[in-house]
C-alpha cells in the first residue's frame, strides 16, 4: 500500500503535466508549437538505431567520460587540498581565478587550441563539472571527525588503508553531493559544446533541426535530452544508495531518537 502511494506521488505530477501538454496541444496549428502527438510521431521516426549510433552515443560517450574525469580530478584534488594546508594555500588563488570563468566561454578558446574533436568537449565538461565536486570534497575531508582520525593514528592505520577507509569514506556524503550537483552541469555543457563546435552529436542535431525548420523533430530531440537526464539521475541514485547506505541508515536511526 505504501509503495503504491509512493509510486503515485512520484509519477503523478509528471503524468499530469504530460497529459496537460498532450490535450492542450492537441490539434495545434501553430508551426512552432506542434502537438505532442506529432512530436511523439516524429520521435519514433527520427531516433532510429542508426541515429542513436551516429548522434546519441558519441554524445553520451563524451558526457560519461567528461563527467567521470571531473569527479576523479575533483576528488583527487579535493583530498590533496583538504589534507595539506600548504597545497591549499598554494592552489587556492589559482582555483578562485579559474572558477570565475563561465565554462561555455571556454568553448571557443578550446576549439582554437584543440579543434572540435572529442577532446575539446570533454575538456569543457571536466572544467565545468569539477568545481562542485572539488569544493564539496575539500569540505568533506576537512570536516572529518577528529576522533576517527585519532583512532586511525593510534591503531597504526596509515597509507592506502587510511585513504580508503577513512579519508574517502568520511568525505563520501559530501563527494556524492558534489557529484549530484555536477550531473546536470555535465549534460548542459555537453549540449552547449556540441551546439558551438561539432558536426555530430545531440546538441548539434537539435540545432540542425531548428535551423531546418523541422520543428517536431527539434522538439523530439529536446524530449530525448530530458529522458537522458532522468535516466542518468536514476542511475546516480542507485549508485548513491549502494555507496551511502551506512549514511542514510545512520541518519534514519538518529531521527528516530
Amino acid at each position: 500500500m505504501r509503495y503504491l502511494q509512493r509510486a503515485v506521488l512520484l509519477i503523478g505530477l509528471p503524468v499530469l503535466l504530460l497529459a496537460a501538454w498532450w490535450f492542450g496541444s492537441a490539434g495545434s496549428e501553430d508551426f512552432y508549437r506542434p502537438s505532442l502527438s506529432s512530436i511523439v510521431d516524429a520521435f519514433g521516426q527520427t531516433w532510429t538505431w542508426e541515429m542513436f549510433q551516429q548522434q546519441v552515443f558519441p554524445s553520451l560517450w563524451r558526457l560519461v567520460v567528461g563527467y567521470l574525469l571531473a569527479v576523479l580530478v575533483g576528488v583527487a584534488l579535493g583530498v590533496l587540498i583538504g589534507t595539506f594546508r600548504s597545497v591549499r594555500s598554494l592552489l587556492e588563488p589559482v582555483l578562485e581565478f579559474l572558477r570565475a570563468f563561465p565554462p561555455p566561454v571556454l568553448v571557443p578558446v578550446a576549439i582554437l587550441l584543440s579543434g572540435i574533436g572529442d577532446r575539446t568537449k570533454i575538456l569543457v565538461i571536466v572544467f565545468g563539472c569539477v568545481w562542485p565536486v572539488l569544493l564539496n570534497t575539500i569540505e568533506g575531508v576537512r570536516g572529518r571527525d577528529e576522533v576517527l582520525s585519532d583512532t586511525c593514528r593510534s591503531y597504526g592505520i596509515t597509507g592506502s588503508l587510511r585513504l580508503r577507509h577513512l579519508v574517502l569514506r568520511a568525505a563520501s556524503p559530501q563527494i556524492m553531493t558534489g557529484a549530484r550537483q555536477a550531473l546536470p552541469l555535465a549534460i548542459i555543457l555537453m549540449v552547449i559544446s556540441e551546439m558551438m563546435a561539432a558536426n555530430e552529436g545531440l546538441g548539434f542535431t537539435v540545432l540542425q533541426f531548428q535551423r531546418g525548420f523541422q520543428i517536431p523533430e527539434m522538439w523530439s530531440g529536446v524530449l530525448l535530452l530530458g529522458v537522458i537526464g532522468i535516466v542518468l539521475s536514476l542511475l546516480f541514485r542507485l549508485a548513491e544508495r549502494s555507496l551511502l547506505g551506512w549514511y542514510h541508515g545512520q541518519r534514519a536511526g538518529q531521527r528516530e531518537w
Partner: protein
C-alpha cells in the same frame, strides 16, 4: 609498563595559554590495573592523549614499555570516551575490529579468528555483521573494547569509557573490563570521574589535583581480586577507601584562593 616523568603540557593557541598538566610523575608497572580520577578539566584526557602519542608534551617524558613516546606506540590501544564517534560507521562490526589487524598486515584467517575471539569475549558473538549505528550505546562501547583486545596490546588506555551509558550497562561493562584485564593480562590505565568506579575497578587509584595538575594521592586498593558488584560495593573496606578518595578530591577541588582554611 608505563612511565610519566615531570610531564608538563601547555596548550598555546588562539591567544590563550592553558596549562593543562602542571607536573605529573608516576609509573604503572607491567600488568597493573590503575585508575585515574580527578576533577573535570584537570587534564586527564590531555594526559591520555600524550601517553598515546597523539599529542606532544611541552616538557617531560612519557615511556611505554621502556620506549619514549614520540608517535603512537605499537602495542598500545586506546578506547575513547566518544565510542559513537570512534567506530567507523561505514564498516560492519567485524570489519571495525579487523581493520587495525589488517593495517598490521595480518593474514585474513588470523584476523578472523582474533576478531571472533574478541567479539565473543565482550559478548557480541552474534553482532558481527551489524553496523555500529544499529547497536545500542553499550554495545558500541563493547565493539570498541573488542577492537582494542583483538589488537593484542600490552598497554590499554581508557578515557571515561562509560560516561555516557546507563547505570545497569555501566555495571556490566565494568565487570567486562575487569574480566578482559584478567584474561589478557594487559597494563591498564583507566580514566574516570566516578570515584566508586575507580575504587571498584582498580588495584590502585591515582588522584589528580585541579590545575596545575599534580598527583594528589596514590592509593593502593587492597580489595580482594575477585570483585562483584554486590559484595564488593558492600564491603566496609570499599566504603572506607571510597571515603578517602572522596575526601581527597574535595580537598583538591577547593581552590586555595576561595577562602580555604589557612
Amino acid at each position: 609498563m608505563l612511565e610519566v616523568k615531570n610531564l608538563h603540557k601547555v596548550y598555546d593557541g588562539h591567544g590563550r595559554r592553558v596549562t593543562a598538566v602542571g607536573d605529573l610523575t608516576f609509573s604503572v608497572p607491567e600488568g597493573q590495573f590503575a585508575c585515574v580520577v580527578g576533577p573535570s578539566g584537570c587534564g586527564k584526557t590531555t594526559l591520555l592523549r600524550v601517553m598515546a602519542g597523539l599529542l606532544p608534551a611541552t616538557s617531560g617524558e612519557v615511556r611505554v614499555q621502556d620506549t619514549p613516546v614520540t608517535a603512537p606506540p605499537p602495542g598500545l590501544a586506546v578506547v575513547f570516551q566518544e565510542y559513537g564517534r570512534s567506530l567507523f560507521p561505514w564498516l560492519r562490526v567485524r570489519e571495525n575490529v579487523e581493520l587495525p589487524l589488517k593495517a598490521q598486515g595480518m593474514a585474513r584467517a588470523e584476523r578472523r579468528e582474533l576478531a571472533t575471539e574478541a567479539l565473543a569475549a565482550v559478548g557480541l558473538a552474534d553482532a558481527h555483521s551489524a553496523y555500529p549505528w544499529q547497536l545500542s550505546g553499550g554495545m558500541q562501547q563493547r565493539v570498541a573494547i573488542a577492537r582494542a583486545i583483538a589488537y593484542q596490546p600490552r598497554v590499554l588506555l581508557m578515557d571515561e569509557p562509560f560516561a555516557a551509558v546507563d547505570a545497569q550497562t555501566r555495571a556490566d561493562l565494568e565487570d567486562l573490563v575487569r574480566s578482559v584485564w584478567k584474561q589478557f593480562g594487559v597494563t591498564l590505565l583507566f580514566v574516570t570521574h566516578d570515584i566508586d568506579e575507580a575504587v571498584y575497578l582498580g588495584q590502585r587509584v591515582i588522584v589528580l589535583s585541579a590545575s596545575p595538575t599534580t598527583v594528589a594521592q596514590d592509593l593502593t586498593i587492597d580489595l580482594p581480586a575477585e570483585r562483584d558488584q554486590l559484595t564488593t560495593r558492600a564491603d566496609p573496606r570499599f566504603t572506607e577507601l571510597r571515603g578517602q578518595v572522596y575526601a581527597r578530591i574535595q580537598k583538591v577541588k577547593a581552590p586555595a584562593s576561595e577562602g580555604a582554611p589557612a
